[in-house]
Each structure stands twice: as C-alpha cells, then as structure tokens.
C-alpha cells in the first residue's frame, strides 16, 4: 500500500493555485484507467475537498518560506483507480470525524435558519470515495479509491 517511486506523482505548494494542475493530473490518470462515466466527477469532488482541507489547515498561515507541499500519487490496480495524497502538516485524520456525525446529521436535517455552513467537505470525501488514512512517518497519507467497472 505504500507509495512507490515509479508511480506518477505531482508535488506542488499547498496553495489554491495548485488545485487545477492536481485535478488535471488525477483526471488524466482516471481516464487512462477507464473509470466509468459517473466516477470522474466523484473523484474530482473527493480530491477537491481533501486538497482544500490540506491547503486551508495543514500548514501555518504566513509561515516564513511559504506553505509546505502537497503531493499526489495515482495508481491503477486491476480493480480500482487510487489517489494517494500526502502532506507534512501535523497528524490529522480527515476520516475520524465520526464523533461529529450526530452534529453533522442534525445540521443536514436543519432548516434554513439553523443550518450552519461547513462540515460538508470531509463528509463528501467519505461519501464519494473509499477513503482511508494513516500517519506515515512525518506525513499524512490519505488514500482515495475508486472502483473500476468490471470489464466483460
């Protein structure tokens, strides 16, 4: 499951300007892998939410020397297309928000006056992909898996 050197990868500063090149890098791999027609938007969505989370929270604001990096790997397995996202911020598991699930659930049921913005980004990562997280040395490693259509 570890990231290998021979996988295509792209490492960029963790800033909003990096969203588009990373999106195109992921989509290029997804199309090569032959993901079904519904999958690319889901992949884009899970990836955007994960990246925005890293860009917004992984590194201190206005740090001398600029923000840290984010690195995206893509991999094609026989049954799935996989993205692995690395950052070197403090340990944070974006999938461990289960404890916030009741609050999120209440918010999803709220009316317009009481509905709060936010909380949906991490929820959408879990909804749109098969996601897993581990702390890998000094890195946060988020794996987003998308099943490939069964070939006949």
């Amino acid at each position: 499951m570890s990231t290998c050197a021979d996988q295509p990868s792209l490492r960029l500063p963790a800033v909003m300007d990096s969203l588009e090149p990373l999106r195109l890098f992921a989509l290029e791999g997804a199309i090569e892998a032959g993901l079904g027609p519904d999958a690319p938007p889901r992949l884009e969505l899970a990836l955007e939410e994960a990246l925005v989370n890293v860009i917004s929270y992984a590194y201190p604001k206005n740090a001398p020397g600029g923000p840290g990096d984010v690195e995206l790997h893509r991999r094609v397995d026989p049954d799935a297309f996989t993205l692995v996202l690395l950052d070197w911020g403090p340990a944070f598991d974006p999938l461990s928000e289960e404890e916030n699930e009741p609050a999120l659930e209440a918010n999803r049921m709220a009316d317009l006056d009481s509905r709060e913005p936010g909380g949906l980004g991490l929820f959408l990562i879990r909804t749109m992909s098969l996601a897993s997280y581990r702390r890998n040395g000094e890195a946060n490693e988020l794996t987003l898996r998308f099943e490939l259509p069964v070939s006949t």
Partner: protein
C-alpha cells in the same frame, strides 16, 4: 461560471453554466446578490448547465438562500443532474431548499 438571466413573472430566472468549485463558488453568490440589490428577491436557478459542485458551492448557495430570505424572498433550483443532483441529495440541500425537477415547476410556485 457563466450566467444568463431573464424575467419570468414574479421570478428572476438565472441559468447557471460551468463549475461551482472552491475557486468559482463566490461568483454565484455575487451574481445573486447583484439581483437582490435591484429588488429581484425571488430567484430561480436553472442548474442544467452546471457540471460540477463542491462543498464550497453549497456554502455559496446556503449563504445566498439566507440573504434571499432576509429580504423576504427565496431561491429555488431546478434541472439538477449528475453529480450536482447527487451532492444536493447527500448534503440534505434538496430538502433544505426548494428543488424542482423542471423550470416550469420552479416558475409555477406561489
């Protein structure tokens, strides 16, 4: 994102085209606020040309809906498809806000 608009009875119909992502989402709210400030407080957003939405888009929509309500108006959505319909559904937005299948239904509300 691109917007085209036309007046239809009590409503201002807004056709939305493109992607509502982290970078572009504020454009939607800005466009709606522009209409609110001219006195158009009942908005209908036709999302048939919207290819993609993320949580930033939902935030922009939620903020817009609250501003419409504060003015005594509202905003309805129609013609959702693909990932846009899916995101509205899983986030609860399709029950939070008026979401109609067709433009005629959205413009036929009281």
């Amino acid at each position: 994102m691109e917007f085209t608009s036309e007046k239809s009875g009590a409503f201002l119909l807004l056709m939305v085209k493109g992607r509502m992502d982290t970078i572009t989402a504020p454009e939607f709210e800005a466009e709606c606020v522009k209409w609110l400030e001219t006195g158009e407080i009942r908005l209908v957003a036709d999302l048939s040309g919207l290819e993609y939405i993320s949580s930033a888009g939902l935030r922009s929509i939620l903020s817009t809906a609250k501003k419409c309500k504060a003015k005594g108006g509202d905003i309805a959505f129609c013609n959702l498809s693909g990932i846009v319909a899916e995101v509205f559904s899983v986030s609860g937005f399709s029950t939070l806000l008026p979401v109609l299948e067709t433009r005629e239904q959205a413009l036929g509300r009281s």
